[in-house]
């Protein structure tokens, strides 16, 4: 159902800061194998839980400034922002079940 929002350096603050719902940002890049592996899982989660969480992704090649600002040094990193503040950080690819567990408090 709900699609994943593609963020850029220009849209990041507005999207993440102004959101009513928690925003999950997937920091990823084209050259990252584990990122590609979890992409379909995030698509599924966005479809199933898009009402509770806004799912977004940010390409670290295009927006290294945002990645640096949030201390991302490994991808995939998923950060859930609540009211613009980082609330949870998930580093590394995981199974859908493990991600659901990590995201339980936001669902």
């Amino acid at each position: 159902m709900a699609a994943i929002t593609t963020l850029s350096s220009a849209s990041f603050d507005e999207t993440v800061g102004a959101a009513m719902k928690p925003v999950l940002v997937d920091f990823w890049a084209e050259w990252c194998g584990p990122c590609k592996m979890i992409a379909p899982i995030l698509d599924e989660l966005a479809g199933e839980h898009g009402e509770s969480i806004t799912f977004a992704k940010l390409n670290v090649d295009d927006s290294p400034d945002i990645a640096r600002r949030h201390g991302v040094m490994s991808i995939p990193t998923l950060i859930v922002f609540k009211g613009g503040e980082a609330a949870t950080r998930i580093v590394g690819a995981k199974s859908k079940a493990a991600l659901l567990e990590d995201l339980a408090e936001f669902l």
């Binding site: 890049a29 050259w31 990252c32 194998g33 584990p34 590609k36 592996m37 979890i38 899982i41 670290v60 090649d61 990645a67 201390g71 991302v72 040094m73 490994s74 991808i75 995939p76 990193t77 580093v91 590394g92 690819a93 995981k94 199974s95 079940a97 493990a98």
Partner: protein, 329 residues
């Protein structure tokens, strides 16, 4: 998802989806053994669908690709080839096995009680190996924050910085060379006074003006609270310690086989590698075969893994035929 009646046993179940498991799947599928492959679940370690090659970049020694091929690309091709001949590939991780009676049974998931996910007359084990960690308390705190086991995933974040690689094998050299694309200086920390990497990788590493070597040292601790700020290294002979300021540390100190699942079920060496009968892929349990890095602590190459995957498929096929013949004689 599980139906009411337990499903018919498969001819062959394959656990693991690196070059060994997927080659076994191609051969089994083409022999009409309708294999099911439990490929594992996504992770950022090499314990993931596709195996260790998923964390590499250029594979230059796999025959058939004169210009090299990207590891993940190669594994996508392996998988597509297995699927083309009808192998069923399940993105699940086997969490328990019962090899005490036939058909053998396999469970998946965190809580492996209840009905098995699959049962099979023959099982091919190809769960591979994964990177060893240093075993330091700081690892849990700093992994993904400057401490990494995947240069290809994380090298990008160290542009213009000084970092280190721990290890002296081919993987360590490959990581160090890859990281010179980003970092201004890469220090290779190795516990011996020479490398065990192949000659070609050593030559390349020695030729790089961005790689320095710190011989006879081990990493005693990784420093930093929010992210890696340095490492404390210790001389292996004198015990002298000193601190190197670094922004990142990449670990490439070798591998351990993924055999925890088979403890008590299959015979293994003291180092955890599965034991197979010489010249075959037969384990100590008739009908269970092992191939690839999970039983190979000597060669550990993608091409040897693929070769032994083919052997396992043929061994399994012949074993199943012999069982069938015995029953219908």
């Amino acid at each position: 998802m599980s139906g009411d009646a337990p499903p018919e046993p498969r001819q062959v179940a394959i656990i693991g989806s690196g070059p060994a498991g997927l080659t076994a799947a191609i051969y089994c599928a083409r022999a009409n053994l309708t294999p099911v492959v439990f490929e594992g679940e996504p992770s950022s370690t090499s314990d993931q669908p596709g195996g260790q090659l998923m964390l590499t970049t250029d594979v230059e020694n796999y025959p058939g690709f004169p210009g090299g091929i990207m590891g993940p690309e190669l594994m996508v091709a392996f998988r597509a080839q297995a699927a083309r001949f009808g192998a069923e590939i399940r993105t699940e991780k086997v969490s328990r096995v019962d090899f005490t009676e036939r058909p053998f049974r396999l469970w998946v998931g965190e809580d492996p009680g209840g009905e098995p996910a699959s049962s099979a007359h023959a099982v091919i084990v190809s769960t591979g190996a994964q990177s060893l960690m240093l075993g330091l308390e700081a690892e849990d705190r700093l992994i993904g924050r400057g401490l990494s086991t995947c240069a290809t995933c994380d090298g990008f974040f160290f542009g213009g910085q000084e970092i280190a690689v721990v290890g002296g094998g081919d993987s360590a050299m490959e990581e160090a060379l890859f990281l010179t694309k980003f970092a201004t200086k890469v220090t290779v920390i190795h516990r011996r006074d020479q490398l065990r990497a192949s000659k070609i990788m050593q030559d390349r590493a020695f030729a790089s003006d961005r790689i320095e070597f710190l011989w006879n040292h081990i990493v005693a601790d990784v420093l930093g609270t929010e992210s890696v700020e340095g490492v404390r290294v210790r001389h292996t002979e004198t015990g002298t310690e000193r601190t190197l300021p670094l922004a990142g540390l990449f670990i490439a100190i070798g591998h351990r086989p993924n055999t925890d699942l088979f403890r008590g079920s299959l015979a293994m060496k003291s180092n955890g590698y599965l034991i197979t009968e010489p010249g075959s892929t037969r384990t100590n349990v008739p009908g269970v075969f092992a191939c690839g890095d999970v039983q190979d602590d000597v060669y550990r190459q993608a091409v040897t893994a693929a070769g032994s995957g083919c052997m396992a498929a043929i061994d399994a096929e012949r074993w199943l035929e012999a069982q069938h013949d015995a029953k219908h004689r």
